[in-house]
Subunit: 103 residues, 2 copies
DNA sequence: TTGATATATCTGAATGCAATGATATTATTG
DNA sequence: CAATAATATCATTGCATTCAGATATATCAA
């Protein structure tokens, strides 16, 4: 039985991990990247080009999301294509698309 | 017509605001607070007590969530009770409760 | 008004995060 | 093998966040 704070319904470890994933998604550039990836396949330099950001910036954000298993890479000769593999991330983007930001 | 990055489906401003709200929720303590608030009414010192955190820390987190209209305060004599007013925050906690953190 | 209780705010120190520019790695082509 | 292209990683710097302790504000009771 995992330890929980009195009266709370979710285990502390679960909230810790959820917060870690949320922290990764809680960045404008990373949300833009996820949004773009959901729209269709792109490779890194294409992403950097479309979002008008330096290659290193895009690559670092992708690396961070890869570490948290939000995206996955697939090499195609010199290019590296990315795709979203975390269903929660997809769901979140759908929520933002539907309800905006809640204001 | 709001400006969007080419090929992306969500306006930049929407993603910016969504990221701002997510950033607030993306913290273990704040998730715990929201979780606890959803379970029933509590005032600040009770929260601090249950979560075993200094009063100033809890108050600061509440203040931050108040600023982003995630929670609302209601004074009752000397006590201040808080409640969650952002439906997206509730939804998010339900997702965490149901699917854990997605692993 | 004084004292006690509950909450909020402020300040400083430590830590974490993000962008930049440079360098390293990997794959491909000649 | 050398040169190029695409991506990843590193190191630095600046900025934001977090916690802790102290102080301020607000409410109530005596």
């Amino acid at each position: 039985m995992p330890r929980t704070t009195p009266h709370s319904t979710i285990a502390d470890e679960t909230l810790d991990r959820a917060a870690a994933v949320l922290r990764v998604l809680a960045h404008p550039v990373r949300l833009r990247i996820v949004d773009r990836l959901l729209a269709g396949p792109v490779h890194v330099s294409q992403l950097a080009d479309e979002l008008d950001l330096p290659q290193a910036v895009v690559s670092q954000h992708l690396s961070q999301m890869r570490a948290h298993e939000i995206v996955q890479q697939r090499r195609e000769s010199r290019r590296v294509f990315y795709e979203v593999i975390n269903p929660h991330a997809e769901h979140l983007l759908e929520c933002i698309r539907k309800h905006g930001d809640g204001r």
